[in-house]
Symmetry: C2
Subunit: 321 residues, 2 copies
DNA sequence: CGGCAAATGAAAGACGTCAATCATTTTCTT
DNA sequence: AAGAAAATGATTGACGTCTTTCATTTGCCG
């Protein structure tokens, strides 16, 4: 009943434990026919190495580095907190997470690194250093896996929400981007365009994820075009959006934005915004660590697409105690 | 640098390994002052028992039993599949899941059991047998933890969606329950009532999660009251709803229902329904197993509230390959 | 067939914890 | 203070794998 051990494999293959071990761990110096017999025995018995025992023996601890942009965008500080929480929670699993600003030096000696929404320069440096890299939030070429949401689908979702909210009426939705040069933001916009059609989608404005700029540019746009019936805020800086909606009172546009932060939560509760699409940073981070562990164990896990949560005023999760 | 071991703790406390072990594992026969010194040393060193080593030593394998109602409601068969998948995925973690119909005999000897949407009779039998029980999908008194969605919040969410969809117009929403005696269903209805108000919410019909009955009763209700602008299907049996919507063509009501199944997925894609609120069976099951493992390890984890996913046509996850 | 390299086997000591046994010390009782 | 009970210490062999060392066997070459 018990799972087969490497001893069982060796016995079944008719070789010694040493030889089975040499095959399993690729140490070389084994005749071809032995290799095949061991492989066959592994297959037959359905042997799976007990990773916990292996790690115990190797005194292996997983050393991960996480690069998260500095500053306190509500969102990235949630990511940062999630890494700290997870590091704490996984201490018993021999996992160490070294959390760093994306600005600092070359990667320390670690088993796998994760980059959250970082630029291409960083990943190049890491890859050059032979460290496998996982992309979080923002995909990037060269990454072994991407963990994050499908931004195109997110944009389509936002579009659908606007369509539902506009049922019957003609929609005029203003997209507010962080930057048109960010892949994520472009994808979201493209997704929305698929659903809304050109006549309903106004040209986007760019606020560089900056609340002040958001307040200025968006306020200006709303004054210039009183016929705007919807807003899709694609990036960050929504702190600047809230007071504008408060000023507009009862006939503000329908607002969809991204990431649940203290500000967007308050906005929902105060009926100043309508929908928040959240990519669940804690779950993303947990997922990223699982993937990194798998990579460190020599597996080749695929990318993980997080299904974003959609929050209204009514289904906000309780604040953690 | 390396994590402290129990040997380190013993040394720091000035006692032998045996004594430290007796304290840690509550074996008794230890003087109060030794207990305190060991506790203090554990605290000071930040000692955390290495669970992998412990499990290795105990040859511990977690034996779980999962009771899932028989039959192939799309939803419960997804739960069932999730258990099988997880059992497979966690074989390396020494976790065995014994999946059973809720009808069969008393609990086998196991570390923890999980009941998915079962009646009270079952849980009583299990609890009498000293097996800790976790409730999945449907909460029940006596369970050590509940893993599932907040049904009240789900109902409110559905209500909000209807309000968004009805903006301006007067809503007349027909709730379709499985059974008014199910706690989950009552909660969902109550949640919706909080948002919609009595004048917009019609009296519910009951279809007992049965597609045929759904087709008959709902069809009848729709013919009787052509002014229905929305449907909230609270339970199962939605297979019977789809063809009705197809028949109504362009001016069908706005439809919100629960659980992503092959049928509801097809309904979304064919524009026959609008929103699916899904409780993510796979995630729930994974979560339940984590909780059960924690319970088996002697921890006392809390309940977990799953945030339901909200699906439109546009953000459906790809079908697993 | 001698000699050399390659292949194999045997063994042992980690890793950190569990669990059990037995010997010894301390503490309490009367 | 003697004897019983309680507490402690010392030790050992698992658990399954890793890693290294050393001895032995096998195969191949000229």
């Amino acid at each position: 009943m018990r799972n087969p051990t490497l001893h069982d494999v060796a016995r079944a293959a008719g070789v010694s434990y040493s030889t089975a071990d040499r095959v399993l761990n690729g140490r070389g110096g084994v005749a071809m026919k032995s290799i095949q017999r061991v492989r066959q025995a592994i297959e037959d018995l359905g042997y799976r190495r007990d990773i916990t025992a292996a790690n115990l023996s190797r005194r292996r601890s997983y050393r991960f580095a996480a690069y998260v942009p500095p500053g306190d965008h509500g969102f990235f500080s949630a990511i940062r907190r999630a890494f700290l929480d997870q590091a704490e929670a996984r201490a018993g699993q021999r996992i160490t997470v070294d959390l760093r600003d994306e600005l600092d030096g070359p990667p320390a000696d670690c088993d796998c690194a994760v980059l959250a929404g970082a630029g291409q320069e960083r990943i190049d440096a890491l890859i050059a250093g032979d460290v496998p890299v996982v992309a979080l939030v923002t995909d990037m070429p060269g990454a072994r896996a991407y963990i994050g949401i499908d931004n195109l689908a997110a944009g389509r979702t936002a579009g659908r929400l606007h369509r539902i909210a506009h049922r019957g009426r003609h929609a005029r939705v203003l997209p507010v981007m962080g930057s048109a040069s960010l892949r994520d933001h472009r994808d979201r916009l493209a997704g929305m365009a698929e659903i809304l059609g050109a006549d309903s989608l106004l040209p986007p404005i760019e606020v560089r994820d900056n609340p002040d700029r958001m307040r200025d540019l968006l306020g200006q746009a709303l004054r210039a075009d009183p016929g705007i019936t919807g807003i899709y805020s694609i990036g960050a800086g929504n702190r600047g959006l809230i007071p504008l909606m408060r000023d507009m009172g009862g006939n503000r546009p329908f607002v969809v934005l991204h990431e649940l932060t203290p500000h967007s939560r308050a906005g929902l509760l105060d009926d100043l915004i309508d929908v928040v699409i959240d990519q669940k940073p804690a779950e993303e981070v947990a997922c990223a660590l699982d993937v990194m562990k798998a990579i460190a164990d020599g597996e080749t896990p695929g990318s993980v697409t997080i299904t974003p949560a959609i929050f209204f005023k009514e289904n906000l999760p309780g604040v953690p105690a």
